[in-house]
Symmetry: C2
């Protein structure tokens, strides 16, 4: 910590190997209620305007003003209906419900910004790869290469029922299907159109060369299709790939495919072990360790003074709707917490299927016996650390995380919106810049170039997507 405070910005901080410039990501959703639950009950929170265009345009301007690298939009298919055996608690507390489509707000935010990146959650279990690939290509075109896809496979039985399925695939098998889905979309994004196929020749009346545009075929266990990708190549072709799963099978998947991996660790040592594991696995998959950025979830509460920060923390705590948090955790671990006494230990048996939730609870409990009451009183509810203080204090903590856990950045959860992000932009960012821990201007290029630095903004040759190119590009 002391070390990082000594490294002041001097000329080009990229030249100083001791200083890693942090990635700052805004963690949000197209809904009134997010985590921490119930923040909309405080008038400082503007999330009730989520159905309006100006809400999103304003948010995007705030984020780009603060040089945020991106905004990550969580999404669920289905509703939280484990707690009490129905969705009542989620409906009352607006916990991820109602929740509108996250893709549709990207064009608004893109229109009023130039550099902000967009990571949008897409649950591949319920999407058709052909139509899905076109939606992402369209957005990658419109945003000029600023699209990221947060790959999820879902965890709610209510989603499966809403889509007319008899149930979800078993946890590990969902990832088998996901690997195959990725193969199909890589074929479409990387293999259907060769570089140079689009010539736009007005005189000859030839827009693209048919011999360089290919039909993709796939016939696997879960997917079958035959077709030409409907979109010409977008700046990134394959969007920047995000993932947040922490199960063994989920890590296998993300270390192979993903470029930004979000971890929810609440202590630096455990997170550091996880980060090392992620980087090791990436290398085992033939990738460069710096081609994977690890981002830690955090709730950040800032004040010009400690007292101000504590006042704001108290307001966040007052705003929490306990039943909202209970509904979220109940759905994540698959146990109806309404059936337990408030102080009854939760009979929680970690399995691979609920590993993400299990890890969150285990780390936060730190030896405590976890009960419904503790969950209801908990502010951050499994979304990483809560970091509270003055800009200097929060920057110290950020620096300590970067050094001790080897993380690449922070996924800052909205508490009050846009207040959380206004505070980060106005108070924290200048402090981080002074320490050389944050950029002072955006890089040019696609989201991938900005985050990872690849030359042409597309997938590097070491990524599995590159194998589906007709003409492999040597990087």
């Amino acid at each position: 910590m002391t070390k990082s405070r000594l490294i002041r910005r001097s000329g080009n901080p990229m030249m100083n190997p001791m200083t890693r410039q942090l990635i700052l990501n805004a963690f949000d959703t197209n809904a009134v209620g997010f985590t921490p639950s119930g923040q909309w009950t405080d008038p400082r929170d503007r999330a009730m305007n989520y159905t309006t265009m100006e809400y999103w345009a304003n948010l995007a301007r705030v984020l780009e003003g603060g040089l945020f690298d991106g905004i990550f939009l969580q999404d669920l298919v289905g509703v939280l209906d484990i707690y009490g055996g129905n969705a009542d608690a989620a409906i009352r507390s607006a916990s991820y419900f109602p929740q509108n489509d996250p893709m549709m707000v990207i064009p608004i935010m893109a229109y009023v910004t130039k550099h902000l990146g967009f990571g949008v959650t897409g649950n591949l279990s319920y999407e058709d790869p052909y139509l899905f690939a076109r939606r992402f290509s369209t957005l990658d075109h419109l945003t000029n290469g600023r699209m990221g896809w947060n790959i999820v496979t879902g965890y709610l039985d209510s989603a499966a029922r809403a889509l007319g399925r008899t149930g979800q695939l078993p946890h590990d098998e969902r990832y088998e299907a996901a690997d195959e889905f990725m193969e199909v979309v890589y074929k479409l994004w990387e293999g259907s159109w060769e570089d140079g196929a689009v010539i736009r020749d007005r005189a000859a009346g030839i827009y693209a060369k048919p011999e360089m545009v290919h039909e993709v075929t796939h016939s696997g266990k879960y997917y079958k299709m035959q077709g030409i990708h409907r979109s010409e190549p977008s700046p990134q072709r394959t969007p920047t790939l995000y993932q947040a799963g922490s199960s063994e099978r989920g890590r296998q998947f993300s270390s192979r495919h993903c470029e930004c991996i979000f971890v929810g660790g609440s202590n630096k040592q455990a997170a550091g072990t996880l980060v090392a594991d992620i980087r090791r696995r990436a290398v085992e998959n033939g990738r460069h360790p710096s081609d994977v950025k690890v981002i830690v979830d955090a709730v950040v509460v800032l004040g010009a003074t400690e007292a101000e920060a504590q006042d704001k923390l108290a307001a966040h705590r007052r705003a929490v709707l306990p039943e909202g948090g209970l509904a979220m955790i109940a759905a994540a671990i698959g146990i109806d917490l309404a059936k337990l006494d408030p102080d009854e230990p939760i009979p929680f048996k970690p399995t691979e299927a609920n590993r993400s939730a299990a890890d969150g609870l285990a780390k936060k409990s730190a030896g405590k016996i976890w009960t419904p009451r503790l969950i209801a009183e908990d502010l951050h509810l499994g979304r990483g650390s809560t970091i509270v203080g003055t800009p200097s204090q929060v920057a110290d903590e950020f620096a300590a995380w970067a050094e001790q856990a080897d993380i690449d950045g922070f996924n800052i959860c909205r508490a009050f919106t846009p207040g959380t992000f206004v505070d980060v932009a106005d108070l924290l960012v200048p402090e981080l810049q002074d320490r050389g821990l944050f950029k002072t201007a955006y890089r040019e290029g696609t989201l991938r170039q900005k985050l990872i630095g690849h030359g042409d903004g597309r997938m590097p040759a070491t990524h599995p997507a590159a194998a589906y190119r007709r003409q492999p590009v040597l990087v």
Copy 2:
């Protein structure tokens, strides 16, 4: 015609029963090449910028400046691959290919406008109703009730293959499935959330009342689902419904469900017969005849003088890429025209399945023997009349259409973009306004209120969607 020219705007033209104010719709697509084919080969056409946000923002501003009621975005799933047995002609001529997702450009156009409506094509054969309903609800929220859905069931086997199906359902059965799809989305849009369910009570910590938010269940021949709609009620709930099919089964469908019906007739008498049939069927379905607006497709070429208009027409003709038109027609009628001699009569047997294409060809042939050469030389390629002239001449023709065919408006196909629409806004609209044939300001309200005039902007009680409301609203 003389009659309409005598009716000058005097006070409120709505008060004059002799004057019907026309609906003006822009017919467009998220692609380089549309119909007429090959217009992108003329530098006056800007469609090659279709992947940029500014292209769409500019287009929307042009349309709202001209008081256009809406923009209708055509879309296809799959590619045109009948002509020559492959997609080569479509790829070279950019005929609906590449083609990006039409929904993603709506938020950009909505952000820079206040009144312009949006009709977007959605092929229900390849969509899941639960996710699809949420996408439309999201857009209806963001646009403040300006969304229309052009319902299609598709006609390309290439689409079915791309989605991993062994083939399309037979034509009439596609409409059976479509009726059932409508039932599911009506349940979600109209029946899942009661009016008044959303109370946004900060003090009580209650966003919505669970007892007024209902799970929807459906178990039919084609669809099965069980879930609560993820979006709270949007201004229109069910978007304004468009349709363009002309088969017997298609007309049954549209007269029951649709509010704007697009017809491609190229002569007024035939169109008049069709319009009468559409209105009669709507009444048979218990609907008010004026609750269905019939819009005719037209290619409009305007000049300040006749010579200027003729020059522009010549430029459009020069820009046509014959193979593009042939690829479109071949796919529509399912006959590989590349296998015929240019002057060989097309062995075309009209069936219900290709009725739309058949009607288009039959009307335009007007007794001629239709051949590949005639199709290749044809400018408008089945998309309604081509109306060429000075503003006064075009307005005369519009008035004649309205009087003789009882149509409600025009769907003006982009030829050069945005040039076609700039011409309409700058030249034709003032002339139509002078005659009392076009509004001089937008009405307030949702797209449905603007087009049809219903009090609260939602579906009238006589529409089948209303049957799925929990608390029927008496209108």
